[in-house]
Symmetry: C2
DNA sequence: CGGCCTATTGGGAGCGCTCCCAGTCCCACG
DNA sequence: CGTGGGACTGGGAGCGCTCCCAATAGGCCG
């Protein structure tokens, strides 16, 4: 019942000879019209209920919902998107080489949260990794061509041509992390890297550590730069460049960086790595050099990724609220897409000091 | 030009008073009609060109393509999907806990390949992780409700209720890896785990190793089981259960497993881990136990993931052709979705022995 | 040279929604 | 009791495609 026989076949042809085959494809998913008929209201009313139920009597809302439940109706996104003039998808753009992406648990977490949340809103997540400049151009074109309603960007490097391109398109955009050079024009969600790093290094100082080295993130990213600034502020006048090595967030770069510093100052008593992964690398380097952690050298990481608690010893680190960042970015993007926000929005989320055994 | 003034506004209202505002949204993306007009053909012809150009004169095809290029036209997926009666998306379902997923580079590679390839075909990738039974039910309903055109499954465990549920839905489905218990009814793409493992362990035997331990994958997965079978076949009558520890693919389980075997047989001279990650863990355990690799103990992994070449020493392993598997799975799924295949299709892809320094 | 067949082409119908204009109904107010 | 106005509803129009039927244009055979 409620799947009326008059659901007309595709073309005008082939009437009366028994139901045309293509009518049965997929057991005829019910449409909004079926629901309307079942509930004894009009298509318009069902649509209203589907979209928040405003201006519909509560009793009618209940009726319609009952019909929806009974018929097992679920909205056809394609039709909705076409009618509403949107695409129904949001892109998540990362510009990194694949090896790095897979290494970084944060990305995976972002993807997971974005995917789940967007599905709840009847939207899709489009994953795009810009591995080289050519890809970036393709992506830029693709995004500007109107295939997506908005985009979430995680572009660590400051010199992104993609960013410049997208900044002037009208596409709703939210950047994860502070976009160097576009802080004012674009919306972004980030943490206070500087202060977080400052607090961590101050903690090391407070524990009596005197010779504190650091493996920084890439200094052309806001995260890398700001965490380094925090470190400098905390060590104060004792700062010396020979205590610093620049890494690229990766485990390997942490190992190499720690080795360099160790070669220059065999007596360092603490090491602040700007990411957990690099801290893991540093841990390996220290082990190889025969240093005990935290007894000889205290090690601090950043991110509080899964790796941090699995490390040996578990890492003292700064919790980077990835999930909250993801949700907040989504909220800002929603506002942008629905035209609810006046201008670029900037959100800074708090971090949290996590003390474990490495420092 | 070519954006004709007669593109009618939404409703019948507000004519003649200058163009209604909403006409300008997004700079009016050109439609198939605009292209048709520009090329001097009909909508139908443009559509034909868009879909392969069959039954259209080459000269006309060229014309239409020129128009498309000139106007910067790109198809509106929502409209296409609605008209074609499909959803335009494909789900990739993984059932694993998040920590494991992020640990496994294979998944990330799959996601990347699927995403890129599907985008090329104008489809979306829907990522869904079934973290618990409740989630599985939700996903099962969601998929069966007709929100996707097909699904790719990576469900390592044999006892998947989700699998049972989906197996009887009419949804086109391709499983990555051999689905224990559903080998015949479902399509799948896999490698020959048994033979690959057999060859690897035979290699160890051929190098004169006599006491070969193994850390297996979960024995309720086809991969774990089959690699173990290959190991048993290769060691032959010298097989003893005390040389075996069951792992769960994770690094940590590799370490634990190796330690167990080491405790029982302090004189093992080779170790076959059913995954690179577990081999990495085993490497750590051996290092802690003061064994040199490969001098004292040869170590072999499986997968040839990025981790394998970064390990110290680099791992001798079996290359698992992830990318090829992904592409093949997509092809099979395409066939299924387009109704081109008669029944379930089964593909077994070749692996490759990769010799590095660990064995 | 006429008729038949096939390769092309045009364009009507419709996919399942959202939007929005016109009512319709009902209640408070004067 | 008449009227204005707000809360609800119904349903036409249209989103931009694909499908498919009918129509046209050649090409080939007898």
């Amino acid at each position: 019942m409620a799947i009326p026989a008059e659901r007309s076949p595709r073309g005008p042809g082939a009437e009366g000879e028994g139901a045309p085959l293509h009518l049965h494809r997929h057991a005829a998913r019910p449409t909004i019209e079926d629901v309307a008929q079942f509930a004894g209201v009009s298509r318009g009313t069902v649509s209203r209920v589907l979209n928040g139920g405003h201006h519909v009597r509560p009793a009618v809302v209940a009726n319609v919902n009952f019909a929806i439940e009974t018929l097992g109706y679920s909205v056809n996104q394609a039709a909705r998107n076409l009618a509403a003039g949107r695409t129904g998808s949001v892109a998540f753009v990362v510009s990194e080489h694949q090896e790095h992406i897979f290494e970084d648990p944060n990305y995976v977490l972002f993807v997971s949260v974005f995917g789940k949340e967007l599905r709840r809103r009847g939207r899709h997540l489009l994953l795009t990794a810009a591995e080289d400049t050519e890809e970036e151009i393709f992506i830029g074109n693709y995004l500007s061509a109107g295939h997506v309603d908005g985009a979430l960007l995680a572009l660590p490097h400051a010199d992104e041509p993609l960013l410049a391109r997208l900044a002037q398109s009208r596409l709703p955009l939210v950047v994860i992390g502070r976009p160097l050079g576009y802080e004012d024009e674009l919306s972004w969600v980030a943490i206070d890297d500087d202060t977080s790093a400052y607090e961590m290094v101050s903690y090391l100082v407070g524990r009596g550590r005197k010779r504190i080295g650091t493996v920084t993130g890439p200094l052309n990213t806001s995260g890398g730069r700001d965490r380094f600034e925090g470190y400098k502020r905390a060590v104060g006048p004792t700062f010396r460049a020979s205590f610093v090595a620049e890494g690229d967030w990766s485990l390997e770069s942490g190992r190499v960086g720690a080795k360099q510093i160790l070669a220059r100052h065999h007596n360092i008593d603490a090491l602040f790595a700007a990411s957990d992964l690099m801290a893991l690398g540093a841990l390996a380097a220290l082990r190889e050099a025969g240093r005990r952690v935290p007894h000889d050298v205290a090690v601090a990481g950043f991110d509080d990724s899964v790796a941090a608690s699995l490390a040996d010893p578990p890492l003292t680190t700064v919790r980077h609220p990835c999930e909250e960042i993801a949700l907040e970015a989504l909220r800002v993007l929603d506002d942008l897409m629905e035209g609810r926000s006046a201008g670029p929005e900037h959100v800074v989320l708090p971090t949290e000091f996590v003390r474990r055994r490495s420092a």
